[in-house]
């Protein structure tokens, strides 16, 4: 019996895909969500300590969120960790998770269109300002939904995409929202008018188009000054000038789709469907390719919440989550072990 279970655990780890990771507000913990609907909590302080053992690189706690499918996106506030994916949006208190006693604090579900629609949520972000706190969710029903978290009321949806939405970000202090979709377009929404302000179509741009990979857009990032827009996926990853909406630099990864990217200091880090983390200069020069464990990468994240634990994590289709303290190489890997049934 024990053998069967360990074999099952082995298979679980062999087919594991981590879709998203988030650092806790205190910066001491890392939460990772996978395709089996589980969340694992790692202690960065333990893993980074000089006398770290193999055990401290395994989750200190893990729990099951969705019975039917994966968790595709995590977002975090000072209090809550919010999970979205193949099911309702569920929020857990960080303090409960760290105390190893997670309880659903609240949950939201997107309005159903029909009996057979099971729209997934691929991306969720929270916009918080002095007056309100709004949760946006890019969903499988081609819509971006929004809720007011303060009272849990459904605000509205943004329609216009013709296929499901991969990623969303907010910009200009929440005045605008950008969504990237499977249909190949990125739409910049005016939040107050609730309509599409501009549409970007990289698959039509000759610099970026790669029809053999597809036109879908997954990689979507805006820099701090709201000056540059990074778009990638089927088309080549490129920085788009937000004012003119023209690509200024492309980041060539032949045959490899980029899933995630982020601005870090004067560099761009990106990763996708290969087991490499790419370092680029903003001008498009390929600085470095760091080999990592996951063969396909879905999450890269830098811990800004704690100076002592400032690390880069790279997660994807592997049971290993690579941790880089110096961003140039993998220092060690965390192991996503299935939660005890």
């Amino acid at each position: 019996m024990h053998l069967k279970e360990s074999r099952q655990a082995c298979l679980y780890m062999l087919h594991n895909v981590v879709y998203d990771t988030k650092f806790s507000p205190c910066g001491k913990y890392l939460a990772a969500a996978n395709k089996f609907g589980d969340i694992a909590l790692f202690s960065l302080t333990a893993a980074l300590s000089p006398d770290a053992s193999d055990e401290s690189k395994c989750p200190i706690f893990s729990f099951h969120v969705y019975d039917q499918g994966g968790i595709y996106s995590l977002c975090s506030t000072d209090i809550f960790l919010i999970c979205a994916g193949e099911g309702d949006i569920q929020a857990y208190k960080w303090s409960d998770i760290i105390a190893k006693n997670p309880k659903v604090a609240w949950s939201l579900s997107i309005p159903k269109k029909g009996v057979f629609s099971h729209a997934e949520i691929n991306s969720c972000v929270i916009h918080q300002d002095s007056s309100s706190m709004v949760l946006y969710a890019g969903a499988g029903d081609h819509l971006v939904h929004s809720w007011d978290i303060e009272n849990g009321s459904y605000l509205n949806s943004f329609s216009g995409h013709t296929d499901y939405i991969h990623s969303i970000v907010t910009k200009d202090d929440g005045k605008n929202l950008i969504s990237a979709s499977e249909d190949g377009t990125a739409v910049i929404w005016d939040v107050r008018l609730k309509e599409a302000a501009q549409v970007v179509k990289p698959f039509e741009n000759e610099k970026c188009a790669r029809p053999h990979i597809g036109k879908w857009l997954k990689c979507l990032t805006v820099d701090e000054d709201n000056y540059w827009l990074l778009l990638g996926g089927g088309p080549t990853l490129a920085t788009w000038h937000l004012k003119t909406l023209t690509p200024t630099a492309t980041y060539e990864t032949p045959g490899v789709a980029q899933h995630v990217a982020l601005f870090h200091e004067d560099k761009i880090l990106s990763a996708g469907s290969s087991n490499h983390l790419n370092h680029w200069s903003i001008a498009g020069e390929h600085k470095m390719a760091v080999p990592v464990n996951p063969s396909s990468i879905f999450s890269i994240d830098i811990n800004h919440n704690s100076k002592s634990n400032k690390v880069l994590t790279v997660a994807g289709s592997s049971d290993k989550i690579d941790v880089c303290s110096n961003f140039g190489y993998t220092a060690f890997s965390l192991t996503f072990v299935p939660p005890l049934s």
């Binding site: 895909v17 597809g214 290969s274």
Partner: protein
């Protein structure tokens, strides 16, 4: 002058006054004369000496001396002054002479006295000696007496050694005539005497009781003997009756005798095999009539073995010593023979063995022969598979699946029957310079762990490392393991059902393999509905593959590293085609398939080479068959797992190809999208709709 002399004489006389007769020379003279006249004897003089005071004698002696001195001086004076005065001189002379005689007498007296004193001294001395002697005698006597006293004190009576009844019991139980309480209470001596008397009484009683009981016993044993004699006379009669009924038994096909004979044979089985035989036949009678249990071998050899006491260690040690001594002299051939002999001795089997035959519904039989290795204290098994006549199977890729060597691999996880389960054996073999048991398996059979459990032998687990002592022999090696029925009973049902399961699963697997070799995936009727009616991909080749082949594959590395694939795994390679697209699937089966589901490792050649390392969809397909296999087997039809997995793989390959992004819009699409898929991609990984919903006939993502 004369006056002076007279004065002198007077003084002398005066001085002599205490001494009668010496007052003047005349008197002295008279005294002497008178004495002579009175006839004084020497004897009387002796007495005189005693009577007189010696001190006065001393004074009179001194006085006489002085007188003599003055007399001489007077004579001289006279002679010098008046030479003629002869008369005067004469008178002085006479006085002097008298005094001289007196001196003489005193001298004598002194002598007497001296002698007398000496005598008395001697006498006193003698007396003292006598007293001393007496004292010595008395002291000796006293010492002797003291010794006697201590001896008496130390005397130990025999009664102290006798265990007596306690004082309380004595007063309670003994009659008053013996206790005599009033007297004995105060006198411990009398009390002791009383207690001794009571003890004697008691013991006498007991002795008489003992003799009576002995007598009774003798009588009873005599009775028993006589009854036994009577019973023994019955034996030949009964066997005669049995002999007579034999034809009837045969006629009625009731093999009571055969069973009895076998049971008698079982008496000579070694303990572990006996346990095995007993428990399996009990199981057979109770639950499973399809089992056949029998004993084979030489009963007489077993009988003689039982009487021959076997002492392995000492003998073999001396053997080895002898060997060392003689090795230089003898030929190498001889020593080789000896080692062969030694090997034979170590691997000596008990002459009896137990045969267990498990038959399947279709008549295939699994014949297990259990042997017991006397020296190593383990049970080994040799296997034979008797295929039924109708089920003749020809499978090239699975030819070895029914081979006796492999068919029982991992009946229990990890049990390949290669190493001896008895940790003591390792040392025993090492001691005799032999290799590990695995080298001798063709000779002795396989010592599977479950065989030991069936025989009631339980050894310590290998995982617990044994602390070897200096010479490499663990103490544990010396503890003999005893066969226990309880161990056997706890395992037998499971083991037999596993054996039965194994043979049926192997047979069905063989059937499936032979069908796969022909390119047909034998999906059973119950599962056909789970798959779409039309699947375009097809299985083109099915072949065997080795572990070494697998190791060369980069995309198999993560599976190899996980430990799910071992060198003992049975590995096949399936090639699945659709048009110009080709998928290679390495299928890894463990020995206990279908308990452990097969593992699939995929790679696709379609425009480019794609594996799970480069294409996440390949990983998703692997997940479909490796992780979500539960839907593909039911508890009653576990054996259908492999064909169902393959069928699903074909279906997934179709989906994969149909949803693959075209290389270019200019080239006509080779594989058109035929299947109904509400969404071709979903989620961050753009997952493909690999899941088929039979009730709707559509493909969706697994969520």
């Amino acid at each position: 002058m004369s006056k002076e002399v007279k004065d002198g004489k007077k003084r002398l006389l005066k001085a002599e006054t205490p001494v009668p007769g010496l007052t003047d020379s005349k008197k002295l003279r008279q005294e002497i004369i008178s004495k002579n006249q009175e006839g004084w004897t020497i004897a009387s003089e002796e007495d005189d000496a005693l009577l007189r005071d010696p001190l006065t004698d001393l004074q009179s002696f001194q006085a006489s001396c002085n007188f003599l001195k003055s007399a001489i001086r007077d004579i001289k004076n006279v002679k010098s002054s008046r030479p003629d005065a002869v008369g005067e001189i004469n008178s002085i002379r006479t006085d002097a002479t008298i005094h001289f005689i007196h001196m003489k007498k005193l001298n004598r007296l002194a002598h007497f006295r001296c002698r007398k004193v000496r005598e008395t001294t001697n006498e006193a001395k003698h007396k003292i000696d006598q007293c001393h002697l007496q004292l010595q005698n008395l002291l000796y006597e006293a010492m002797h007496l003291e010794k006697e006293i201590t001896k008496c004190m130390e005397f130990k009576s025999k009664d102290e050694e006798i265990e007596l009844v306690s004082v309380e019991e004595f007063y309670q139980d003994a009659p008053a005539t013996i206790t005599n309480e009033s007297v004995t209470k105060n006198d411990p001596h009398l009390q002791m005497l009383g207690r001794l008397e009571w003890e004697l009484e008691l013991r006498k009683n007991l002795a008489s009781k003992l003799t009576a009981t002995k007598k009774n016993k003798e009588q009873l044993s005599q009775e028993i003997q006589s009854k036994q004699d009577y019973l023994e006379t019955l034996q030949p009669k009964l066997s005669a009756i049995l002999q007579a009924t034999r034809p009837v038994q045969d006629y009625l096909s009731m093999p009571y005798n055969a069973i009895q004979e076998e049971h008698q044979m079982a008496q000579h089985l070694p303990q572990p095999l006996y346990v095995l035989y007993m428990q399996t036949s009990a199981f057979k009678d109770a639950c499973d009539k399809c089992l056949k249990v029998s004993i084979t071998g030489d009963v007489d050899a077993a009988k003689s073995l039982a009487t021959w006491n076997f002492e392995p260690d000492e003998e073999s040690d001396s053997d080895q010593e002898d060997l060392e001594k003689q090795e230089t002299k003898r030929h190498r051939r001889v020593s080789a023979e000896q080692s062969q002999e030694k090997k034979n001795k170590i691997f000596r089997k008990h002459p009896l063995s137990v045969n267990l035959t498990i038959s399947n519904e279709d008549g295939t039989e699994l014949e297990l022969t259990f042997c017991y290795l006397l020296e190593l204290n383990i049970i080994t098994v040799t296997v034979k598979v008797n295929l039924s006549e109708k089920g003749t199977l020809s499978s090239i890729t699975g030819g070895d699946l029914l081979s006796p060597d492999l068919i029982l691999d991992e009946l229990y996880p990890g049990d390949f029957g290669n190493d001896s389960p008895n940790p003591a054996n390792h040392y025993e073999l090492k001691k005799h310079g032999l290799l590990d048991l695995s080298t001798y398996i063709p000779l002795v059979g396989r010592p599977y762990l479950w065989c030991q459990l069936m025989g009631g032998l339980q050894f310590l687990k290998k995982e617990i490392s044994l602390a070897e002592d200096a010479d490499g022999f663990s103490n544990i090696a010396r503890i003999p393991v005893q066969a226990k029925h309880s161990i056997c009973a706890a395992n037998i049902q499971k083991t037999i059902s596993l054996l039965r399961q194994r043979i049926s699963s192997r047979l069905s697997l063989l059937q499936q393999l032979s069908s796969l070799e022909r390119g047909i995936i034998p999906v059973s009727v119950d599962f056909v509905k789970q798959f779409p009616a039309k699947i375009n991909a097809h299985l083109s080749t099915w072949s065997r593959c080795t572990w070494e082949d697998l190791q060369t594959l980069a995309h198999a590395k993560r599976f190899l590293k996980s430990g799910l694939i071992r060198s003992s795994s049975i590995i096949f390679q399936a090639v699945i085609d659709r048009g110009s697209a080709k998928m290679n699937a390495h299928v890894v089966l463990t020995a206990d398939y279908p308990q452990v589901p097969p593992l699939f490792i995929l790679d696709i050649v379609w425009q480019t080479q794609r594996t799970a390392l480069t294409d996440i969809f390949v990983m998703e397909m692997e997940e479909e068959v490796n992780l979500h296999y539960q839907e593909l087997s039911s508890s009653t039809q576990q054996n259908q797992l492999l064909p169902n997995q393959l069928q699903r793989l074909l279906m997934c390959f179709d989906v994969y190809l149909e949803t693959d992004t075209p290389a270019s819009t200019l080239v006509p699409v080779e594989i058109p999208k035929e299947k109904i898929m509400p969404r071709t991609s979903r989620g961050p990984a753009r997952s493909k709709p690999f899941k088929y919903l039979p009730e709707l006939g559509i493909f969706t993502q697994r969520y």
